[in-house]
Amino acid sequence: MPAPRRARTRLACRLAAVAVAAALALLPVAQTGDPLRPLLAWLAGLGLLLAAGAAWHPAALLGPALTVLLAGYTVALLGLGGRVHAWAPVVGAGLLLFGELACWAREAHPLVRDEPPATKARAAVLAASVVTALGLGALVLLAAGLPAGGALARLAVGVLAATATLALVAVAARPTATR
């Protein structure tokens, strides 16, 4: 029965995406003290709502959902003081996992029958991306601990990296006609 299986894949992706988003939204609430908790709870609720919307249909909600989840985590960082939060790589990988699952849910259209190798390849790429994201996040945290220049140099590198990322995306992602 191919049609129900396709519908199940879609539903599973949606539920998994919402579950990941819920975990990402509740993590800062659980780890933060009283002054910031009400604000984080509101952000978590809003993030969860947007995440569910992004997983169910409108592609335009993916960006706002990720931003609100990130905002919740960033606010939570303010309450941590000077110590480094070791869960940051998990949060990064979680955001990536949520985004990919939401996109997969839209991709798994009930009308399109996926051959099993295509589904397996998709799952493998997703798993590899998440593992790589965890490693990359950990690497960034480790690199941040190393002494490397002053604050101005770090600021320059950061601004340059952000600008270069946006420029590359703008150039590479434009719609073009090829052969």
């Binding site: 940051a88 990536l96 601990g145 990322t165 995306v169 073009t176």
Partner: protein, 446 residues
């Protein structure tokens, strides 16, 4: 192929930029650690994406079929570069049914006039495959022919994705493979016989007298009569030579008049489905007995075929018949729009009409006034019409039925045989009723 970015590129890049700026503003490494996977995925994915190179071809295994047959469409793919996910979308026209119920018989509310005809956009069938570099793949799609009509197959949409689903490439191919689906002809043992025959030899017994098989009368011997025609029993009784007279076997001209102004769709079939199926069956049966058959498709598009005989005429007629569809127009159409040779003198005109559109009704009156031998099969839209609830619904249906009955009486008073045909009744039974009705009817003065 046209390349399009996925919406998630903007989302990932935007969130990564915001996180990097937050990290700079707060002077903390955690937002950077959160942003890094998103930014790296976008940058690495875009850098690694390559335009797919695909050769695509699609063919159907036949161009003619009968309702109920299956047609196989083969889509051949050859990838010069690896494609992580390729979506194939084949548009299945209404009237054909793909695997999993794609396409299918067009659905309109029962009883609604002007239903869909073949050729409107249909429901697609789609498959996603993975292709390695240099791989050739043939995808076979079996389409079941559910409704008669002329179709175009091969409306194919392709969408390729890269590994990280950041870009997609789209391409549309319209291979325009023609397919004609003919209705299955019904076996007809008895046909409507015309009042007048033509001059060529055929299978219809003429009302005139001449050389033939059927006995007609006897008359006194005249010089030139053949001795084998002498009726010896009458000659012995009357004392002078008498000969037999016979009815010759002649062919006839039959024109099938298909009213395609409106189509009323019921639960199973529509009035136009019944008309086209009956016209195909009648044409096959008349041509088998060496009559000449012509066609007038009278609707938004007026199409005609002059009467012809033989297998070639049958194929021409069926091909023309398959292109029949409802075309909404307010322009007035009349018999005068038809070429004179389309309706030859002494031809039997068998009209297949739901008698709903005034233009078709007036055209049939016009034919009667011109003295044509007309038989009308009134394909009843009442059975397909949706039941109307409420106080006035049944009354309206009864008034409609009475109005239609009055119209049939008007035709009968002018000499036409009119029989109502509902979908439950076999065409053969309707033809027998028409024949019975014609025995009682008086031909219109010609």
């Amino acid at each position: 192929m046209t390349r399009r970015p996925a919406p998630k590129i903007a989302a990932y890049a935007g969130v990564a930029a915001v996180a990097l700026l937050a990290g700079l503003a707060l002077g903390r490494p955690e937002p950077v650690a959160v942003a890094a996977p998103l930014a790296v995925l976008v940058v690495a994915g875009l850098a690694a994406a390559r335009d797919p190179e695909l050769d695509v071809d699609a063919t159907a295994d036949r161009d003619r079929a009968i309702v109920g047959d299956e047609v196989t469409v083969e889509v051949r793919l050859r990838a010069h570069r690896a494609v992580d996910r390729l979506e194939l979308l084949l548009v299945v026209p209404p009237g054909l049914e793909g695997p999993g119920g794609a396409g299918g018989v067009p659905r309109t509310p029962p009883g609604s006039p002007g239903g869909t005809g073949p050729g409107r956009s249909g429901r697609p069938w789609a498959l996603a495959v993975t292709l390695a570099a240099g791989e050739e793949r043939t995808v076979t799609v079996t389409l079941a022919c559910r409704r008669w009509g002329a179709y175009r197959l091969g409306d194919l949409h392709l969408r390729a994705h890269d590994r990280f689903r950041l870009l997609c490439w789209e391409r549309h191919l319209d291979l325009q493979a023609p397919l004609k689906v003919f209705p299955e002809p019904e076996a007809l043992r008895a046909l409507v016989r015309p009042f007048e025959t033509q001059v060529f030899t055929g299978s219809q017994v003429s009302r005139h007298r001449g050389e033939g098989i059927e006995f007609a009368d006897i008359r006194p011997f005249l010089p030139g009569d053949r001795p084998r025609s002498v009726n010896w029993r009458a000659t012995a009784r009357r004392g002078e030579p008498w000969v037999n007279q016979r009815h010759p076997e002649r062919n006839t001209d039959v024109v099938l008049f298909v009213d395609s102004f409106l189509d009323v769709r019921g639960q199973r079939e529509s009035t136009l489905d019944l008309a086209v199926g009956a016209a195909a069956s009648l044409a096959t049966a008349y041509l088998r007995q060496r009559d000449r058959v012509g066609l007038v498709g009278f609707g938004g598009f007026v199409q005609w075929l002059q009467p012809g005989s033989g297998q070639g005429a049958l194929y021409r007629l069926l091909d023309t018949l398959m292109e029949t569809q409802v075309f909404a127009t307010a322009a007035w159409k009349g018999i005068r729009h038809l070429p004179p040779r389309t309706l030859p003198p002494k031809a039997l005109i068998v009209a297949l009409s739901p008698l709903l559109d005034q233009r078709a009704v007036a055209a049939l009156f016009d034919l009667l006034a011109r003295g044509y031998d007309l038989a009308v099969v009134d394909i009843s839209p009442l059975t397909g019409a949706a039941a109307v609830d409420g106080e006035w619904g049944p009354l309206a249906m009864r008034l409609w039925a009475l109005q239609r009955e009055t119209l049939r009486h008007r035709y009968q008073r002018l000499g036409a045989a009119v029989v109502e045909w509902t979908a439950e009744v076999h065409l053969q039974q309707v033809l027998l009723e028409v024949e019975t009705c014609r025995r009682r009817a008086v031909p219109a003065p010609g």
